[in-house]
């Protein structure tokens, strides 16, 4: 119940945040602009709309997860609003979980709104919609969870600005980890071991990217899909657990 009320309060806070609406409007503009772009290219305009559309949803969703998500904990500590919560019978981990859940609700609604925007564009342009599109959207949402948990983890021990920078950096690196493995394969044992270690430690965010499958009409098996979701969920849980441990020990000063 406590987690729920903190989650609902966080959701309400997000709803009253202008930044959220600005990002959402930009996302919808980007999705809409794919129509104009596709007119400029010959042929493959279906592909371009899907590519730009899914890319925009991913990019802006991540921005929301980071910039709204960072505020969740760092801002509460910097503005000292957390003082009145922690002195109530609320365990610190409950506070974190509530914040996470609140942003999850916000992100879910945002993803739905952006997806609807994309569907409208696809429909207007007569692009056929396949089931794969929804699988891709679902995985984008799982990626948002991982990013949110990362942002939350950083904001339990650094400032809002640093958390934003770290999370953004990990988002970029997380999409390049596959290259790390390829790179490591050409090296000696020790270097390969280290690179492999980093590879398994960092979130492999490319796993959540099914854009190529949608655009090229490839399939993903149900089992693979489940495995990817399980990977995202486990990664998120570990991040949240670590965040709780750090948060439990820290001073609010």
């Amino acid at each position: 119940m406590k987690v729920l009320s903190i989650a609902l309060n966080t959701f309400r806070e997000n709803l009253r945040d202008k930044l959220l609406y600005n990002l959402l409007v930009f996302a919808l503009l980007m999705i809409g602009s794919s129509v104009v772009l596709s007119r400029l290219t010959l042929g493959e305009f279906h592909r371009l709309i899907l590519d730009v559309g899914l890319g925009s949803i991913n990019f802006f969703g991540v921005l929301i997860a980071i910039f709204v998500g960072i505020g969740l904990v760092s801002k509460e500590i910097e503005k000292k609003t957390i003082y009145t919560i922690v002195s109530k019978p609320v365990a610190r981990y409950q506070f974190l979980l509530g914040k996470f859940a609140g942003l999850t609700i916000t992100l879910f609604i945002n993803t739905v709104v952006m997806a609807l925007g994309l569907l409208v564009v696809l429909y207007a342009q007569g692009v056929p919609v396949e089931g794969m599109l929804f699988k891709a959207l679902a995985l984008i949402f799982v990626e948002f969870m991982v990013i949110t948990a990362l942002a939350l983890l950083f904001s339990t021990f650094t400032s809002a600005t640093l958390s934003a920078i770290f999370t953004l950096a990990l988002y970029v690196i997380g999409h390049l980890t596959a290259d790390l493995k390829v790179f490591g394969a050409k090296m000696d044992d020790l270097s390969r071991g280290i690179l492999d270690g980093i590879y398994y430690l960092l979130p492999n965010l490319e796993r959540f990217n099914l854009k190529g499958h949608v655009v090229h009409h490839l399939e993903v098996s149900g089992v693979d899909l489940m495995l990817i979701v399980a990977y995202g969920a486990t990664y998120t849980a570990v991040l949240l657990f670590t965040a709780s441990l750090i948060f439990h020990r820290r001073d609010f000063r």
Binding site: K2, S5, R12, E13, K80, Y83, T84, K88, P89
Partner: protein, 322 residues
């Protein structure tokens, strides 16, 4: 030391050392504080800015962990989840969720105590009434003045009808009317049987409100006890006379008894060295046919006591340095 379950707050050699800056320089914010707050009393935690009041209260509220020493609330160790439902806390210059209206704000804190529905609405209305904010119940906190924030802050601290109310500088930044309202509220809380622990750097606030006080300076207690006892200690027992038409000869007779004299035309303000001089002084005045306008024994104040303690502290630390 064993915790005494009759005490509401108890600390034993409570200390907090902060590490600041790049090199982790140590700053002792609180250095071995022993406090005892008894049930039903108003306890003032007094000292200048930077003395360690907020740090001590934050330790008690579970916001920071002590470096050493121990503390108990209701005879239970800090961090016991049961105690938190029995206390209310108003932080120093509080910041709140400014996107909420007063009603949403209090509603949210109510939820944290498992209050929902009509029971919650009733409690929120009661509290808004108590702090005189009924008119602003649908106004967002971002539009509030400092005084209004302080009031909803107090309401927030009382949402769970706590046994112990901890207020950090509840009167700072308020105008005289606002301060009087906070004072009245504290007295009302005491009447309803609650224990109140508040900090202040304004000693006068405490004189009229508190049963007992502790004075802290640079992280160490310099005085602690009943206000009446401390006032007695702080008093210098001088007596102030206002006299009209005292002849110069009369004044000469009085000289040995006088500490200070201020002449203003026909009128003189005379400060006697101590209460023992009053009888003799009055006789001399009668003989000199002067007119006595008023006679005031000088009351001590916590401020006098504090200033004396501070200067004592200074000179002893200077001695140590020398």
């Amino acid at each position: 030391m064993m915790p005494n379950s009759d005490l509401v707050v108890q600390t034993e050699q409570l200390s907090k050392v902060f590490r600041v800056g790049f090199w982790g320089k140590k700053v002792t914010a609180v250095g071995g504080v022993n406090l005892e707050v008894r049930p039903g009393e108003v306890f003032g935690f007094l000292g200048p800015n930077g003395a360690g009041k907020t740090t001590t209260l934050k330790i008690l509220m579970g916001l920071i962990y002590p470096t050493s020493g121990k503390a108990w609330l209701f005879g239970r160790e800090l961090g016991d989840p049961q105690t938190k439902s029995r206390l209310g806390f108003l932080p120093e210059s509080p910041y709140f969720y400014d996107y909420l209206t007063s009603r949403e704000f209090l509603g949210f804190y109510g939820h944290l105590f498992g209050l929902w529905g009509t029971a919650l609405d009733k409690r929120v209305d009661e509290l808004l009434e108590l702090v005189g904010m009924t008119h602003a119940k649908d106004l967002q906190l971002r539009k509030f003045s400092k005084g209004m924030l302080q009031r909803v802050g107090v309401a927030q601290a009382l949402i769970n009808d706590p046994e112990l109310v901890v207020l950090d500088e509840p009167m700072s930044g308020l105008d005289p009317i606002g301060r009087k309202e906070v004072r009245d509220l504290i007295l009302r809380l005491k009447e309803s049987g609650k224990t109140v622990l508040f900090s202040s750097h304004i000693l006068h606030d405490a004189e009229v409100l508190c049963d007992r006080v502790a004075m802290i300076l640079k992280g160490r207690l310099v005085a602690c006890g009943k206000v009446t006892d401390l006032l007695e200690q702080g008093a210098n027992h001088q007596v102030e006379l206002v006299v009209d038409r005292l002849t110069p000869e009369g004044l000469d007779h009085l000289r040995p008894l006088i500490d200070k004299v201020v002449t203003q035309g026909d009128r003189m303000l005379i400060v006697l060295k101590s209460q023992q001089q009053v009888g003799g002084a009055l006789e001399i005045l009668r003989a000199a046919k002067a007119r006595l306008v008023s006679l005031n024994p000088q009351k001590g104040s916590l401020e006098d006591l504090f200033i004396r303690e501070v200067s004592g502290h200074r000179s002893s630390s200077e001695r140590r340095a020398a």
